[in-house]
């Protein structure tokens, strides 16, 4: 048992977790799953709930597909994967509706769109179909956290600078009232942060920093 555990956390397997956090990040390098990353990051809470949903669906789907990978006929594999993912997403959707109804209203169609989130299909096709359960599980964790940290960073910046609050931690009015322009101060909330295109600039910023640090990742135009 211990020998098996050791092999699960060997160097090669740890790479599966670490790589997607930075050098092969699903959002900024592999360009997968952008849609939801941009549309729902207006508040940190939404970004968190979305990341957790993707984490759950990605891990379960990767493990299930990896378990039955030798039984899936090659020709219909896409539809098999879609059915597995759709079932998991329905579960997530019902759970969100039951426990965090307000957030699920705000996420609206984007919970359903986890089905076609490219990260999930991409990892199933590229990894789970050809690897054992253990590595697939780690690969799913790595990619889900790679997705999560970008969502959280973008969500944090947009909420703090856009509306000056962090509803997730029950913090309202992070900016002192006396700073505000109408009270004779110098500060005003940046309404631009609440518009959706701003998320694109923030992700572009993440990409810029990442590629300036690791110049191997720079593309040929």
């Amino acid at each position: 048992m211990s020998a098996k555990k050791e092999s699960l956390f060997s160097k090669k397997n740890m790479k599966l977790i670490k790589d997607p956090l930075n050098d092969s990040n699903p959002i900024s390098i592999q360009v997968l799953g952008i849609c939801s990353a941009l549309a729902i990051t207006i508040m940190l809470e939404n970004a968190f709930v979305m990341s957790m949903s993707v984490l759950f669906v990605l891990i379960m789907a990767n493990v299930i597909v990896s378990v039955i990978r030798n039984m899936i006929p090659d020709k219909i594999r896409i539809i098999v994967q879609l059915v597995i993912v759709a079932t998991l997403v329905i579960t997530v959707d019902q759970i969100l509706k039951a426990f965090v109804y307000e957030v699920s209203k705000q996420l609206s169609v984007f919970v359903g769109l986890i089905i076609t989130n490219c990260i999930i299909m991409g990892r199933l096709e590229a990894f789970a179909l050809g690897n054992k359960v253990g590595p697939s599980f780690l690969d799913a964790i790595g990619n889900a956290f790679g997705y999560t940290w970008i969502l959280l960073v973008v969500g944090l910046i947009r909420e703090v600078f856009g509306s000056g609050s962090l509803t997730m931690f029950g913090l309202e009015g992070l900016i002192p009232e006396s700073w505000m322009i109408e009270n004779g101060g110098f500060y005003e909330h940046n309404g631009l942060m609440l518009l959706s295109p701003i998320a694109l600039f923030l992700v572009a910023g993440v990409i810029w920093v990442q590629r300036a640090k690791n110049r191997k990742l720079i593309e040929e135009n």
Binding site: S28, V31, L32, G33, I34, C35, S36, L38, A39, I78, I79, L82, V83, A86, T87, V89, I90, D93, Q94, S108, V109, G112, L113, I115, T116, N117, C118, M121, L195, S196, P197, I198, A199, L200, F201, V203, A204, I207, W208, V209, Q210, R211, A212, R215, I218, E219, E220, N221
Partner: protein, 210 residues
Amino acid sequence: MLDYINIIVKSIFIENMIFAYFLGMCSYLAVSKSVKTASGLGAAVIFVLCVTVPVNYLLENYVLAEGALDWLDADYGLNGSETMDLSFLSFIMFIAVVASIVQLVEMIVEKFAPALYGALGIFLPLIAVNCSILGGALFMQERQYGSIGEATAFAFGSGIGWWIAIVALAAIREKIRYSNVPAPLRGLGITFIITGLMGIAFMAFLGIEL
């Protein structure tokens, strides 16, 4: 008639699939290096949206929604006193419809219109997992359009909006090859910024009331 035009204009400009909701970004970013291929993918999206949204509309209104099964005979145990609500099944039904229709369309186009297949063929499999197609169906469900005509108008407008977005981005990317972009931003980074600027430009349409 005016209603339909309103819905089309609204879904092209105000509620643009790319700039307002970021749907279908993956293929939008990946297949926008030349105008010709971008235009092909855009046309395929218009086509598939116009086929799948009306089918999903029928499915939603005659099978899935609460009380939609009332047209069934009372013999099946569904008389006025009890109604069925199958809407929790809608994700799996919609994606099954989309995936199978895309497969079907691919086979039909290949058989009867080889020229069209040459133009669209390679893009069709990509489209089954394009967020904008499933997104179209889910928005149709959320907004509860009054008739199948309105749903089709919405699908057509959304498709055109997506096509405009990807063709415009491809045209800009063809030109940006001649500019001196900072090395770490080359490729993906600058594409994000261009899309953001285009998105802000499209926000100008928000003020239009229809």
